[in-house]
Symmetry: C2
Subunit: 334 residues, 2 copies
């Protein structure tokens, strides 16, 4: 059945039913009104409040030929949860604004929501509102509201200091490698294929790690959504510092190294959508994070003072490497 047969209010009813019973436990207890009124309502508290929004636009941010509806729902929410993770926060509520062509299949929308619900359950996030409208292409805009544990400061982009080490969680370039594999229809062994697919289609926001960073005294973090260089640039600009990355230290999955020889570094430096955390701190602070984190944490460079707001990448001999593509930026010619 197409959404045009269901109508807007029929679709809203269906989505409300799909979501019913799925709200996150803690967020749900605070909830006064979820989907179905002019606004969602919940009991406030004195935690620091966080809010972030992201739009995903068909054939700009995703292609339905590459990303199935269920995975699209997961990813759309994951991208926003990752922004809350980068603040050291806990996500609580989500609002979903969905624009769709008339001919969209209702089952596809249900799958989209199932993907969102699956991820939302893992982090006790309640989907509490949104809106639906007709559009010539699919547009998913998710707003996520979160909190930080009481009295905890938020992680910002603006606290990096010269001498700080630059570190990252997990491995970089995996999502970009997956994108290459999927769009160019590259064929690898089944293990590599599954591993890469998972990275691109089911990114896992580093919520627990973001909170750990705060606990261990990290002040500055960002999530790697645009690409390592691009996101480190954001930190440098906001902190008015420069940074140097040692390319050989950047953590890359063996599968990516093996299957993208000669291109792996570029993918790791400029590929986006890994949703890992990039952060800075003193050697002591970073070491505390390394010993307490349940995921790999790698020091990849340091914050310098030279040339404000510049990111330099150097090879194993300390020689600067020219970077052709820093990462993802909208509106610029590519």
């Amino acid at each position: 059945m197409k959404v045009s047969e269901l109508g807007e209010f029929g679709l809203i009813d269906l989505l409300a039913k799909t979501i019913a019973g799925s709200p996150g436990k803690e967020a749900g207890q605070q909830l006064i009104l979820g989907i179905g009124d002019d606004a969602a309502a919940w009991y406030g508290d004195t935690s620091t409040q966080l809010a972030t929004v992201d739009s995903l636009i068909q054939d700009v941010h995703f292609s339905l030929g590459i990303t199935p509806w269920h995975e699209l729902g997961w990813k759309a929410l994951a991208a926003n949860l990752s922004d809350i993770a980068a603040m050291g926060g806990m996500p609580r509520y989500a609002l979903v604004s969905l624009a769709l062509p008339d001919h969209t299949e209702v089952e596809d929308i249900t799958a989209l929501y199932q993907g969102m619900i699956e991820l939302s359950r893992q982090f006790n996030v309640a989907i509490v509102g949104g809106d639906t409208s007709r559009a010539p292409l699919v547009i998913i805009t998710i707003t996520v509201l979160g909190i930080t544990s009481q009295d905890n400061p938020v992680l910002t982009r603006s606290g990096a200091k010269p001498g700080d080490k630059v570190a990252a969680t997990g491995c970089l370039g995996t999502a970009a490698a997956s994108w290459e594999m999927l769009t160019k229809q590259l064929r690898f062994n089944s293990e590599a294929t599954a591993c890469l697919k998972e990275a691109f289609l089911h990114p896992y926001p580093r919520i627990a790690e973001g909170q750990l960073l705060v606990e261990q005294g990290v002040k500055t973090a960002i999530d790697i959504s645009d690409g390592l260089i691009s996101d480190l640039n954001h930190i440098c600009k906001a902190s008015q510092v420069s940074a140097r990355i040692e390319v050989e230290r950047v953590p890359i999955l063996p599968t990516v190294k093996a299957n993208f020889e000669g291109k792996a570094h570029e993918l790791a430096l400029s590929g986006g959508e890994d949703y890992e955390l990039l952060f800075t701190g003193s050697v002591d602070v970073i070491n505390k994070v390394k010993t307490t984190a349940s995921c790999p944490v790698t020091v990849i460079g340091e914050i310098t003072t030279a040339q404000p707001s510049q990111v330099t990448v150097v090879d194993e001999k300390g020689k600067p490497i020219k970077i052709h593509k820093a990462g993802w930026e909208h509106f610029t010619a590519r």
Copy 2:
């Protein structure tokens, strides 16, 4: 200059500068981080929290030939503030997700934001975040976060009871009349033209009135964004009641009556975007609202028990009138 020349991060810088210094006073004092980090952050409090989102899509919700950029910004925010008004709340923070074609003029985007800022100042709303992306058409998604005064209940759609009177603020059908005028290029005298234009291009959300409704004991309200019948239908469905509207009582501006003879009732019953408040309550409660409100409040019908979830419109003799178009609904064939 086109946004493609400025780039995404250049555009974000420009928007941050445009917004700087404009945050609402009260909301601004609570703000920890506005635009420029992964998420906005502010100090929470124990008020009831409200959240609503709406997407406006080019050539679905608006046409740039009819609505100039400045007015588009105003309207986009007004539609969301109106949802907070319908809950009896006060808006505090807004997040703006903006998708644009590459060739969009930067000055147009500045005008769009100026329109939003102008309205946001009137209600002490701070624009604290958002995102920008490339798209084949203009899409504006605004999330508004608000609160209700402490200990105040929220207005919902679900509290209407048989015997309640149905009332509305202001006049209905004015925005729809304006739309007819603008799209069909109808010509009226300058006073009528100005009055109609204002209704469509500068709708004024009923924030103060929403709070007044709560204070006077109203439990049930909605804003008239889809159209009177359609929005009353939402109340009836959520409250499991029916309603009867007396068509001759529906408040219509003399200008609309005079210039849209024979069509004025249809515009008032089915036209959307008036952003007036529709509410129900006992005769006593409605009378208290009427004597304290600084805008016209008109009783237009009552809540009945007959036939759950049905809205009936009757003429001056009590004879039911057939309604062809209830209001605005996405995805349905029109």
